[in-house]
Amino acid sequence: MEGRFDWVGVIDFLPQLGTGLYYTLLISVVGLIIGFILGGIFGFGRIAKNKVIYGLSSLYVEIIRGTPVLVQAIWIFFALPLITNYNMDSVMAGIIVIALNSGAYIAEIVRGSVQSIAKGQMEAGRSLGLSHGQAMRYIVWPQAFKRMIPPLGNQFIISIKDTSLLSVILVPELMFQGRLVASNYFNAVEIYTMVAVFYLAITLSLSFILRIVERRLDIK
C-alpha cells in the first residue's frame, strides 16, 4: 500500500481546487441571496387573496419543485439559448439555476411559516386598529421569520450541495475542477476526497453559524 496514494502531492492542485471553491461560494451566495428575495415575493404570492398573483406564484413553485435541478440546469444552459438566441455564460446560468430553484423552496418555507402563526395574532392586531400590512409587519412577520430560520438553513445547505450538479453545464465550480484534475493526473482518491472535505467544510461552517443565530434568537 505504501506510496499508492500521494496525499502530499495534492497540495500542487490546491490552486485549481481553490478556483472551484471560489465559484462554488460565489454561485451559492449570489444565487441564495436572489433566491431569498424570490422566495419572499412568491411566498407572499402564495398567501395572496388575488387569484392571478396566487396562480402565478403556484405555477412557479410547482414547476421548480416538480423537476430535477439537473434538468433545470441543462435546460437553462443548453435549451434556453436556442429559444432566446442569447448565449449565457455558464456562471451566470449557474446563478440563475440556484436562484430559481432555491427561490421556489424558500417560497414554501415563507408561506408555511407565515401560515403557522395563529390566526388570532392577526386578529388581535386588527382589532387594535392596525392595518393588514402593519399587523403583518409588526406581529406576524417577526414571529414567522424566527420559525423560518431552521428550514432556511436546511435549504441553504441543500442548494450549496446542488451547485455540484452545475459541473455538467461547465461551471468551473469545485466538482468540475476536481474532475478536471482527477482525469488528468489519475489521482481520483485524493482529489475527490479533498472535494468532499471542501463541501463538508462549507456546510459545517454554515451549520455552526446557523446554530449561533438560532441561539441568539432563542429558537427552540
Partner: protein
C-alpha cells in the same frame, strides 16, 4: 352607541346569525349568554368587522360598518376586544404589547405610550411585569395584560369573548375584578360569558342567544330567576 339591525351572517350555506336586532347604550354592560355554537362569538366579531356582514347593518358610534366610506381601522381603534385565548404577541414583552398600537396607529411618541402603558399596568395590578414576556405569565395575568393592551387605545367600548373560559378557576376572579372596575368607570361593554355571578352583579342587561337569534333579553335578575322562554329555561337549568 352600537345599533344592530337585522344582522345576518352566513359561512357558505351555513346561516349562523339569522337576523339580530339590538341597541347598546353608552355605559351599558351587556352580557351575552347561550349554548355553544349559537353564534355568540360570531355576533361579537361582527361588531368590529372581524367577520364580514352578510346582510343588515351594524352602526357603531354613528358609523355604519358596511358603508364603503367607513375607515374600519379607525372604527376599530374605538372598540377594544379581548379574546378567550388572550392572543398576546409572544415576541414582545408586556409593555411592548401595550405600546404597539398606540405608537403605530395613533402615532403617539414612545415616551408617552410607555407612560400610558405603565399606568394601565398599574390599573390591572401588573406594574412589576412590564418587562416580562407573555410566556412567563399566568393565564390570568396574560388576560389582564390583554385588557390593558386594548385600553391603551382609549376605546369607547370593549368587547369580551369568554375572557375567563380558558383560565384555571382560581384565576377567574382577578380578571373579573378588573372588568368590574372598568364597568364601574362607565365603560360600555359587551361580554360573552358564562359567569352568571358577573352577569348578575355587573350586567345591566342579559341577551340569551340560541341558533342565531336573540331569544330573550332583559334585566339579569329577571332573566335568571324568571325566564320567559322555554329555551332559556332549559339552558339555565343545564348550566346552573
Amino acid at each position: 352607541m352600537i345599533i344592530v339591525k337585522d344582522l345576518h351572517k352566513k359561512f357558505g350555506n351555513n346561516e349562523v346569525l339569522k337576523g339580530i336586532d339590538c341597541h347598546i347604550e353608552p355605559q351599558e354592560v351587556v352580557c351575552v349568554i347561550g349554548p355553544s355554537g349559537s353564534g355568540k362569538s360570531t355576533f361579537l366579531r361582527c361588531l368590529n368587522m372581524l367577520e364580514t356582514i352578510t346582510s343588515g347593518d351594524v352602526v357603531v358610534d354613528g358609523k355604519n360598518l358596511s358603508d364603503s366610506e367607513t375607515n374600519i381601522n379607525m372604527v376599530r381603534t374605538e372598540i377594544g376586544m379581548v379574546f378567550q385565548q388572550f392572543n398576546l404577541f409572544p415576541h414582545k414583552n408586556v409593555i411592548e404589547n401595550i405600546m404597539l398600537a398606540p405608537q403605530k396607529v395613533r402615532k403617539i411618541s414612545e415616551k408617552e405610550s410607555r407612560e400610558r402603558g405603565m399606568k394601565l399596568l398599574e390599573k390591572v395590578g401588573l406594574s412589576d411585569k412590564a418587562e416580562q414576556f407573555p410566556s412567563q405569565l399566568s393565564g390570568g395575568q396574560q388576560q389582564r395584560v390583554a385588557i390593558a393592551r386594548a385600553l391603551a387605545m382609549e376605546p369607547k367600548m370593549m368587547l369580551f369573548d369568554e375572557p375567563t373560559s380558558a383560565l384555571d378557576p382560581e384565576l377567574v376572579g382577578e380578571v373579573l375584578e378588573v372588568m368590574k372596575q372598568l364597568a364601574l368607570e362607565g365603560m360600555t361593554m359587551v361580554v360573552v360569558t358564562h359567569e352568571m355571578g358577573f352577569a348578575k352583579e355587573v350586567g345591566d342587561r342579559v341577551l340569551f342567544m340560541d341558533e342565531g337569534v336573540i331569544v330573550e333579553q332583559g334585566d339579569p335578575d329577571q332573566v335568571f330567576t324568571n325566564p320567559q322562554s322555554d329555551r332559556t329555561k332549559e339552558f339555565l337549568n343545564k348550566i346552573l
